[in-house]
């Protein structure tokens, strides 16, 4: 590290730290959806990455549509794309729950296999519809460029946008789960399904909407993802393991834990990435996670849920 001066090192730390924050945003958006599905319902959704890809492809599709038919709306389409990505992924999630997941609630390991099958089908669908090449939407002008607080620090605008988006979505999820009457029903179902049914909560309906919400958030993650990287048919599967680690490490059923763990994992990885190769950074990060989980299997913030 001798060849860097202190101020340069500080700038590197700030920029890598911000790169980490971009990774954190995407991981957190992915993990939020998964934390709802896995933490609240105990369902392993291996197709979660593909729901993210649905969001990303929706954004791409809308960008192509807007460019062809309504070029004047180009600066604004992205906002709509986020909403539509949420809706498309959410509706698909709703259908998946209806057709597949609801039959398997008592067999978590089988859910894992079935959703893996679903993810294969979705991947091949992406490939058949959009082609095997990676695609990326045309981003509006205001997402390009960067913000330079000092000479050496260079922070990309899309990173800031994704961070803000993540903040909004996280607050929204918190509000839904902890302040709304719907969230109350979700939490009640998590804590005691039979009792919730007895007091008149339609637990099946709660399950279906919870799953749809989780998938919808994955769709938002996909829309956000397009601002940072290009999307291919297997993009989703690249992030699924990391996302699961975020949720497990944070402690399932603890949204706060998910945030902390997404931050820790993303920062560790991107700061390590500067000093050693990207692949080794990932190895060390994952290895440290596995080690910690071996000693503390319940994750950072254990849930006090009676199963």
């Amino acid at each position: 590290m001798g060849e860097y001066t202190y101020s340069e090192l500080g700038s590197i730390l700030a920029m890598q730290g911000f790169a980490g924050i971009s990774l954190f945003s995407v991981l957190l958006l992915m993990a939020l959806g998964l934390a709802i599905i896995f933490g609240q319902m105990g369902v392993i959704n291996m197709a979660h990455g593909e729901f993210m890809a649905v969001g990303a492809y929706t954004t791409y599709f809308l960008s192509v549509l807007t460019e062809q038919y309504l070029p004047s709306l180009m600066p604004y389409y992205f906002i709509f794309a986020i909403v539509i990505a949420f809706l498309v992924a959410g509706v698909l999630g709703y259908l998946a729950e209806f057709a597949l997941i609801r039959h398997l609630y008592k067999r978590p390991l089988d859910t894992l296999l079935a959703t893996w099958g679903l993810s294969l089908i979705m991947q091949q669908s992406f490939r058949s519809i959009f082609g095997a090449r990676e695609v990326s939407p045309t981003l509006p002008e205001w997402l390009l460029g960067s913000y330079q607080p000092t000479e050496t620090i260079d922070i990309p605008l899309n990173g800031i946008f994704v961070l803000v988006l993540t903040g909004v979505v996280t607050l929204g999820v918190f509000y839904l789960l902890y302040k709304s009457s719907w969230g109350l029903r979700v939490r009640a179902t998590t804590q005691n399904r039979v009792m919730s049914g007895a007091v008149g909560i339609n637990t099946k309906k709660v399950d279906r909407y919870t799953f749809a919400l989780g998938c919808g958030i994955a769709g938002i993650a996909g829309a956000a993802f397009t601002t940072i990287a290009s999307t291919g048919p297997t993009t989703g599967s690249l992030y699924i393991v990391d996302t699961f680690m975020v949720v497990v490490f944070g402690g399932a059923a603890s949204l706060f834990g998910t945030i902390v763990s997404a931050f820790t994992i993303a920062q560790t990885q991107s700061i390590l990435e500067f000093f050693i190769s990207g692949s080794m950074a990932k190895v060390y990060t994952l290895f440290a996670l596995v080690l910690i989980l071996m000693f503390k299997p319940e994750g950072l913030f254990a849930s006090k849920v009676r199963r």
Partner: protein, 395 residues
């Protein structure tokens, strides 16, 4: 004799099943397929080791490991390292800047054989390594997890992450492992050309023999008291624990045994296919091994072999002619096997098999004839594989 019959072969049904399988892979396949296809079947049968291990671990033990590829890979890499060292003797590699080390090390500016490669100069040490290292690795993972009562979904995810770590490590450390291409150009085993047709035949039969031995050993475990405990643990873990058994130790044992079996499969894979690469270690192969076991029937050791053969044959056939359709089909297979046939082919056979035997009434007469007397007569059934064949095609 009766003890052997009941314990090792699993009684009448298990014995017939094993005979049919043995006849199929030892007699029918070699007669009907050329060496190229037979070698391919041999490759599939190495996956069957992993599938059988998953029947023990998942079907009976109730712990799903999404990391059997780790152990398959460790076994395969162990064998590949030995073969690679033999292929990179000083005279074969005299054009390299450092002769006597594998070519990919030379390309990555490594000038000395790394310490963990040194034991693989000896065939005996290699065999010991293949049989112990994966099991030891499984012991470490298993002890850390099961002692803390981590199981079910968490165990599945963590084994999957370990498979990811290992893959990234192998791909990233190109100089030590051969990177994404893996360890290739393996030619001889103790001076014996492994790419020749005769060697391929011999490996195929060794493979079949070991697979049958593994099935018998697994059957022995399952029919013993340990097998009943395994089932009891799967269904009511707490009750077994309260009865005074140390549940974690049983789980660790079965995990280690499963790792050992998978590693043997991996080593045989390297010998028959002639290379080993990280694409047989990661998430996708590991989860495919689960689907082999699931299609065959997660509760059936023999079914797992058929499941492996069927899925792989389908994969080869489809990816040759309709590569686009294959993933749809595979995905559909995952979903339907979970939703509609949770016990796989073996379950279908149990439910509908008697229709088949009824239509072939001579089969049941034959069965009665064979099994009225002592079981030793049943050995003759091995020669009667034609009959068994029909049964198979129906299945």
């Amino acid at each position: 004799m009766n003890f052997v019959y009941e314990k090792l072969f699993g009684g009448k049904q298990g014995f017939i099943g094993l005979l049919i399988l043995a006849a199929l892979i030892l007699i029918v396949f070699p007669l009907f397929f050329d060496i190229f296809r037979l070698n391919l079947i041999g490759k599939y049968l190495t996956y069957a080791f992993a599938a059988v291990s998953l029947v023990l671990l998942w079907g009976y033990g109730g712990t799903l490991s999404l990391g059997q590829g780790i152990f398959f890979g460790l076994g395969g890499y162990g064998m590949a390292m030995f073969l690679k060292l033999e292929a990179s003797s000083a005279e074969n590699t005299s054009i390299q800047s450092t002769p006597g080390i594998p070519d990919f090390m030379d390309w990555n500016q490594i000038t000395e054989l790394p310490w963990f490669w040194v034991p693989f100069n000896s065939f005996t040490l290699t065999l010991i390594a293949i049989l112990t290292i994966p099991a030891l690795f499984a012991y470490i993972i298993g002890a850390a997890m099961f002692k803390r009562r981590v199981g079910g979904v968490y165990f599945a995810i963590i084994t999957q992450v370990i498979a990811v770590i290992l893959t990234i490590l192998i791909v990233g450390q190109q100089g030590f492992t051969g990177g994404i291409n893996g360890i290739t150009d393996l030619r001889t085993l103790n001076g014996w050309d492994i790419t020749s047709d005769s060697a391929k035949y011999i490996f195929y039969f060794i493979n079949c023999g070991l697979l049958i031995a593994v099935i018998i050993a697994s059957r022995f475990i399952l029919t013993s008291k340990f097998g009943s405990l395994l089932l009891a643990m799967r269904d009511k873990e707490d009750r077994v624990r309260f009865s005074g058994y140390d549940v974690s130790n049983f789980k660790i044992f079965v995990f280690c045994f499963a790792a050992l079996i998978s590693a043997i499969g991996g080593a045989l894979f390297t010998l028959q296919v002639g290379f080993m690469s990280p694409s047989f270690v990661g998430i996708v192969p590991s989860i495919e091994m689960v689907i082999f076991a699931a299609v065959g029937g997660r509760m059936s050791l023999i079914g797992a072999v058929y499941g492996t053969l069927l899925v792989n044959a389908g994969k080869t056939a489809f990816s040759e002619s309709f590569p686009e359709l294959w993933l749809f089909l595979m995905g559909g297979l995952f979903i339907s096997v979970v939703m509609f046939f949770p016990n796989g082919l073996a379950g279908l056979w149990d439910d509908y098999g008697h229709y088949v035997t009824r239509h072939f009434s001579f089969l049941s007469t034959l069965k009665n004839k064979l099994f009225k007397k002592s079981p030793s007569i049943a050995l003759e059934a091995a020669n009667d594989s034609n009959v068994s064949e029909q049964q198979m095609t129906k299945l």
